[in-house]
Amino acid sequence: MFEYEAKEILRDKYGVKVPRSVLIRKGEDPIAKMKEAGLEPPVVVKAQVLVAGRGKAGGIKMARTWEEVKEKVEELFNKPIKGIVPKLLLIEEAIPHDVELYVGIVIDRSERKPVILASRYGGMDLEEIAKEKPDSIVRTHVDPFIGLKGYQARLIGKKIGLKGKALGSFSKFLTALYNMFMDYDGELAESNPLALVGDEVIPLDARLIVDDNALYKHPELQKDILEETGEYTEWEIKARRLGLAFVELDGDIGIIGNGAGLTMTTMDLVYEYGGKPANFLDIGGGADAEHVKTAVSFLIEFPKTKKIFMNIFGGITRCDEVAKGIVKAFQELGEVKKPIVVRLAGTNEEEGRKILRENGIEAFVDPIEAVKRLMEL
């Protein structure tokens, strides 16, 4: 979700005071739009990109005059941030402030509870805070059924050095952030920096990452456009569109496995025997021939792969289905130069290996034998 969307939700649904701003598209006149909204320099011009570390990558510019607004808008619309050219800019009133706080909410895996992380030293990444001011981070768990209590929020505020009325403002903001995190199935809700202006806190930035598995509950939210996150390569985006769990790597050996653990282990095994994986591709549990075909075809087309190693241990996945899928992929693609070595074990393994061998594809029971053979090719 873009910054401006998170801020809109905070403002409209949770009553949080956010800086006044206008959103502009390429080609729109920023001056006119600002005047319409009653905004004047100094303002902050911010590239709306999903890239993490946007500020450091030069995606946020101060503009002190009307002249500078024009300049900075021009500049940001033409400057890729980690490869992504912004389609939207947010022009926001500049808010003078002394202190920048950090506050974020994630789920603590071992406590199975939301945990609020807060620090007096916002403005830098949480990782940097953790490195440079580790003792400044206040961690507070929240009972997911009871919710964040006002006094807990005030206590956090106190621990990061707030006092008097600022405690009330902080508590109100944190409650809003927490409610957004819970209502929207957040993986992360964050404000960094959260500015302290007099007795009031104002979120200069806001982020919300929604759990993909929960997106169906929030039809009003658009799924983040894969291309715009800057997180995925071209082929990773293609794979996601095909429903494949694929990660691009640096080597040249295509890897397919079933199950994330086994697939990672297969990568590790190839490394161990001197190869370099070109990718991670997990066909998951219970894949049918069609899904296997899609995965194998994709890896054959993926230009980085010179040869393919497929490692399947059938549990819920049936080896005969897998074999059929592989054969189909090779049949459909016709003359394929990329060699493949398959290791098949588990449910219906013999049937599976038989199908492969009948179609001229090398099939093994032992993964070590298989990887050794692979390295000979």
């Binding site: 199975r112 199935d185 282990t265 819920i316």
Partner: protein
């Protein structure tokens, strides 16, 4: 003995009329698991491989008061509700196979289960098997044999691989738990280890970890504190995985420098755990630690 699951387990299959539910009901029955009832809302009165189907878990439990375990195959949108239903019906072990459950929902029903004294395995897991006694899950039964090795694993297929390797070397397993690959799961390494520590049948434990999270580090600390005293052998998947990328499921991701392969291996080794470089070294390491 064994942990959590044994010959006294009486199982209800939630989502029994679905594709996966009915298929694995068949396999579990073939393995010898005592499945006493199935549940699918609106399909009460049917039968699946001879197992009577009810509309609700409470009706199933009323008709089969000996039921103590549930396995959930229902789709992600309804899985949390199925878990609450099983917990409220007083079942003591609930295995959630379903993947793609929103993490907030898992977090909530796992907290709820803890309050009510129910053990949750999963979600997004292959389940649990006590070889020769019962299987409540989707793992291939034939790769495991009764024995004295416990296995706790974050990974499904890797568990079969390692279980099979152990079996082939003439050893067997007391109980194998696939705890699941989601970021928030019902039973962690350390929680499972408490059970194995008290199981006289288990002589050694295999931990099958992955990059991401800090469950392996917590297991290492538990061993260091002397709270787990049996020999442990471990394997961690993802040695060569790059940071910042989700390797297949949400749980396996190295973030902000935490959850790395090296960190986990170091923590375990410092706790005296032998860490295998490949799954196939596990049987040899086991023989080594059991000899001592």
């Amino acid at each position: 003995m064994a942990v959590l699951l044994d010959e006294n387990s009486r199982v209800i299959v939630q989502g029994i009329t679905g594709r996966e539910g009915s298929f694995h009901t068949k396999l579990m029955l073939e393995y010898g698991t005592k499945i006493v009832a199935g549940v699918t809302p609106g399909k009460g009165g049917q039968e699946v491989y001879g197992v009577p189907v009810y509309d609700t878990v409470s009706e199933a439990v009323e008709a089969h008061p000996e039921a103590n375990t549930s396995i959930i195959f229902v789709p992600a949108r309804f899985a949390a509700d199925a878990a609450y239903e099983a917990i409220d019906a007083g079942l003591k072990l609930v295995v959630v196979i379903t993947e793609h459950i929103p993490v907030h929902e898992s977090m909530k029903f796992i907290n709820y289960a803890k309050q009510k004294g129910t053990t949750i395995i999963g979600p997004n897991c292959p389940g649990i098997i006590s070889p020769g006694k019962a299987k409540v899950g989707i793992m291939p039964g034939h790769v495991f044999k009764p024995g004295s090795i416990g296995i706790v694993s974050r990974s499904g297929t890797l568990t079969y691989e390692i279980g099979y390797a152990i079996t082939k070397e003439g050893m067997g397993q007391s109980t194998v738990i696939g705890i699941g690959g989601d970021p928030v799961i019902g039973t962690s390494f350390t929680e499972a280890m408490k059970l194995y520590e008290e199981d006289p049948e288990t002589e050694a434990l295999v931990l099958v970890g992955e990059i991401g999270g800090d469950m392996e580090e917590r297991a290492a600390q538990m061993i260091k504190r002397g709270e787990f005293t049996k020999p442990v052998v471990a394997f961690i998947a993802g040695r060569t995985a790059p940071p910042g990328k989700r390797m297949g499921h949400a749980g396996a991701i190295i973030m902000a420098g935490t959850g790395t392969y090296e960190g986990k291996v170091q923590a375990l080794q410092e706790a005296g755990v032998k860490v295998a470089k490949t799954p196939f070294e596990i049987p040899d390491l086991l023989k080594e630690v059991l000899k001592k």
